[in-house]
Symmetry: C2
Subunit: 287 residues, 2 copies
DNA sequence: GTCGAACTCCTTATGGCGTAAGGTATTATC
DNA sequence: GATAATACCTTACGCCATAAGGAGTTCGAC
């Protein structure tokens, strides 16, 4: 219901994120720990994957581990820090960087509009991988991104992109803005799809039915919609009617990939192309 | 702490958002209402502006109005719907569309790289206005955007952008992806600044101090950072050292506009330029 | 072998939250 | 005046994070 705001003690989170395995002390009095930060983080991820972030509580996580909620506080300072750890951990699923984008590019540049090519593919692959990661763990995109508490795994994801863009020839200033734009674009589109899936699963209403009901309701409540918002109406009309999009031509009954997801996949591709073209212009400007 | 997921009953929210003033029934038995949906929404916005979304509760909103929390339920179905209304309402602060982007553009196109120009300025103005709106109400960017329950005011903001881009000559498909990319970019950058301000206000530590402490901690916890993440290290070095950026040249002691905000302003400008260049490529492709 | 310290894990309690249930006072129509 | 509808209230329930403190376990030191 509410929103994440101030992710707990940053110092504690950073220590847990970056310290290899705490201190490897030989032995110490007291009972051996039967849990571990890792196990708790994994349990938290499992809960969030199954139940969304709303279902994530210290109790539910502990329950999955057969403990009381307070047992977790021995390992983890609190819920906010646990979420930090979960967030970083899922980024470990990102495949390792392919060796693209090195400055000694072996792909020849085209003569006119033809780009170097290598970095475009690399950025596209990066974006698609991140997108699918987000869709595997939809709760991740609901964790506030304005969080300079970067963990090693998220940092590695950044490292990939920064490397690709440096390889493409961008300077530091342009690179920063580009990274920001790309990141937020992937996050935003993934969030839309993720929440659509969530809503469909929770209510049992498919995207198409939902949208149909919604626009019926809207045209009843705001019959003058097309006059008040002519451009939006035009856009809705041209998209729905299918100006050669897949909307009409696709085989009906393909519910495995619902309507909105197909549309978002197109939106993703188109938006990414716009971004890549913009980067290309910057590359030409820098080079 | 947690995250917004499934914004209450969409139908009820839509009715409240789009119905002009409910039903203007002549009269009815029972005491006169002393509150109104509008007053509640405004109180909610005031609370969220002052206290962040974490401080927003039915109790706090009611307190500001001198009522009990349950009194609000007479006017508003629940907290989720109230948040929907608050979200849409703040978008009413967006200034009305300037008459730019019409297909009969009166600004002459430049000879070579020079664009039509009109739509670039219009998009920039739109983005900057939305950015500053988000910074006036930082909690807005924490409300999940993957929410097709558009209210009239947010719809108007969209209408502006769609109009501008249609005027620039984009087709519907490209337009969708572009709108998405622009929206998420503005949201994301605003979120970063908003949360930095929040953190600074909450902890009393300035951006610069905070970052200094953070990187000290990081270099202690991960002394091999530069080897593990060479590209990120390079980016950090080139940004901080100031390759002709403002970082060094700016007058010291200008705490009114903190370090991170100046940097984010640059990032915003650069990222927007990349996006505009990408759009321009699409315009050329379409035209 | 025994003691004390360190450690894990538990139960309990506190103060928050959204909101369901039901009571009371007010104000219209009949 | 009776009746019904309405606004607002108090109370209560079941969640939540987590503070406080107790019980049991395991080590090093003697």
């Amino acid at each position: 219901m509410s929103i994440f705001a101030g992710q707990g003690d940053a110092g504690r989170s950073m220590a847990l994120l970056w310290a290899p395995r705490a201190q490897a002390t030989g032995s110490s009095p007291g009972p051996k720990p039967t849990l571990s930060v890792e196990a708790i983080v994994e349990a938290g991820i499992a809960v969030a994957d199954a139940d969304t972030l709303a279902g994530l509580s210290m109790r539910t996580v502990a329950q999955r581990l057969g403990r009381s909620s307070m047992a977790l506080y021995t390992y983890v300072p609190g819920k906010a820090e646990l979420l930090d750890l979960m967030y970083d951990r899922v980024h470990a699923e990102m495949p390792p960087a392919r060796n693209l984008g090195g400055s000694g590019g072996d792909l020849g540049g085209g003569p006119d509009g033809g780009p170097d090519g290598g970095w475009r593919e690399a950025v596209t692959a990066w974006a698609r991988e991140l997108w699918s990661l987000y869709l595997r763990h939809p709760w991740v995109v609901q964790v506030s991104y304005a969080r300079p508490v970067l963990g090693p795994n998220e940092q590695a994801v950044m490292e990939q992109l920064v490397g690709i863009l440096y390889g493409a020839g961008l300077d530091a200033g342009t690179l920063r803005g580009t990274v920001t734009a790309l990141f937020h674009f992937v996050r935003g589109t993934a969030q839309t799809v993720a929440e659509a899936r969530l809503a469909a699963a929770a209510t049992g209403v498919s995207d198409q039915e939902w949208w149909a009901g919604r626009s019926a309701l809207l045209s009843e409540l705001a019959p003058d919609f097309a006059e008040r918002f002519p451009m939006s109406a035009r856009l809705a009309g041209e998209t729905a009617a299918g100006h050669g999009d897949g909307a009409v031509q696709d085989p009906p009954g393909d519910d495995a990939v619902p309507y909105l997801e197909r549309q978002m996949d197109r939106t993703f591709t188109v938006g990414l192309t716009v971004l890549l073209d913009g980067i290309e212009a910057a590359v030409r400007g820098c080079g």
